[in-house]
């Protein structure tokens, strides 16, 4: 049995958070992860408040374990979603793309445990000062929107300044990664890409197929020029985007090119036009399994590694 401060704080069994993936992580996936002893998150992405409320109720109807919602701070619906999570008294909120300071007061009043995703040391300082209960240090190996730093260098530097529990994310897909995250100073891992292969993950079968077939070099980051790079599988769409990025296409046109592409991948499995977000760890995802089994497998693999760590010392 792994021991982790985050498990104690949240009342969960395993130190694993399933990333709140836009268009992917609905109430069903979040509930399956939470029922399996981890912490499941609903990905609010750019969805309106009503959808988020509905998914919170779906998750609550499937499990009485704690779960959370990931809020993308650049969403056009961020204000109403921020209110919905407070009204529904969700146990945990994670945030992406910025500093959630302006919502902190209302979330704290609702008893919510707030965990911003941080891509740098300065952002860590700012969100902790604003009242973050923990932080997720997410390295650029991860799928979706990515920062420049790798998990290996970001996590220890965030741990040095955070003063609150740190969760490592980006590139973790098995027990070795989880054990390494502990060694870097984190007390849990947030995992996205591996959960794409969960039975309870409702993405298009072709998306899953492509993840299972992915190799170590199957992903690419695009959109650096726009200031918010994204990691996805190499595909006709991401290759075309990459080319366009280094052409004389305007930023506006380039931005427009990406709109709706993730939804096409998730719902239609459109290999030509879809954006199949995935992390570098896609190459480590080998089979479709229940979410609970993924969690158990990772933790059971990490345990002997951590116990055996003494072998390095005389």
């Amino acid at each position: 049995m792994l021991k982790s401060k985050l498990c104690q704080l949240l009342g969960i069994e395993y130190p694993i958070i399933q990333g709140g993936m836009a268009h992917v992580a609905d109430g069903k996936l979040a509930a399956a992860v939470s029922a399996g002893g981890g912490l499941g998150l609903i990905g609010a992405g750019n969805a309106p408040g009503d959808w988020v409320r509905e998914q919170i109720r779906v998750a609550a109807s499937l499990t009485d374990k704690p779960f959370g919602v990931n809020i993308m701070l650049l969403s056009p619906f961020v204000k109403e979603v921020a209110q919905v999570v407070a009204e529904e008294k969700v146990r945990v909120v994670t945030t992406g793309a910025g500093n959630p300071s302006r919502y902190m007061e209302s979330w704290k009043a609702a008893g919510i445990f707030v965990i911003p995703v941080v891509p740098s040391v300065s952002m860590t300082k700012l969100v902790v000062r604003a009242g973050a209960d923990a932080v997720i240090a997410e390295g650029g190996e991860s799928g979706g929107h990515v920062g420049e730093l790798t998990t290996m260098v970001l996590v220890p530097q965030v741990c040095d300044v955070a003063g609150v529990p740190v969760i490592a994310a980006g590139g973790i897909a098995d027990g070795r990664g989880l054990a390494a995250a502990f060694m870097l100073g984190a007390c849990a891992a947030q995992i996205g890409t591996r959960f794409l292969s969960a039975y309870e993950c409702g993405i298009h079968p072709l998306y899953k197929e492509k993840i299972l077939a992915a190799t170590d070099i199957a992903t690419i980051t695009t959109g650096k020029r726009l200031g918010h790079p994204v990691r996805s599988l190499k595909s006709p769409f991401s290759r075309a985007f990459y080319k366009a990025e280094y052409s004389d296409m305007s930023d506006e046109d380039l931005e427009a090119m990406g709109v709706g592409a993730l939804a096409l991948a998730v719902r239609e499995g459109d290999w030509q036009r879809g954006s199949f977000l995935a992390g570098q760890s896609a190459g480590m995802v080998k089979k479709e399994q229940p979410a609970a089994e993924i969690i158990r497998e990772i933790c059971e693999e990490a345990e002997p590694l951590l116990k055996g760590a003494g072998a390095w010392v005389e």
Partner: protein
Amino acid sequence: MVFDAIKKLIVEFNDSDPDAITLETTFKDLGIDSLDTAELLINLEETVGKEIELDEEVTTVGDLVAFVEKKLKE
């Protein structure tokens, strides 16, 4: 005063040409993204000796100057 402090921090930060930084210059033109802004802000707090909660979008150097001046008056 605030403008000069910010200008100095930007120059130290990425070797921008100080003469090219005006109130109208955008952070994008200076190659400064939101993460860089977070770091600039922390450094600026050390200079002015006060915590500054950046809860507005800032596009130009002038936006940041106005924002910081407002916060310093509060």
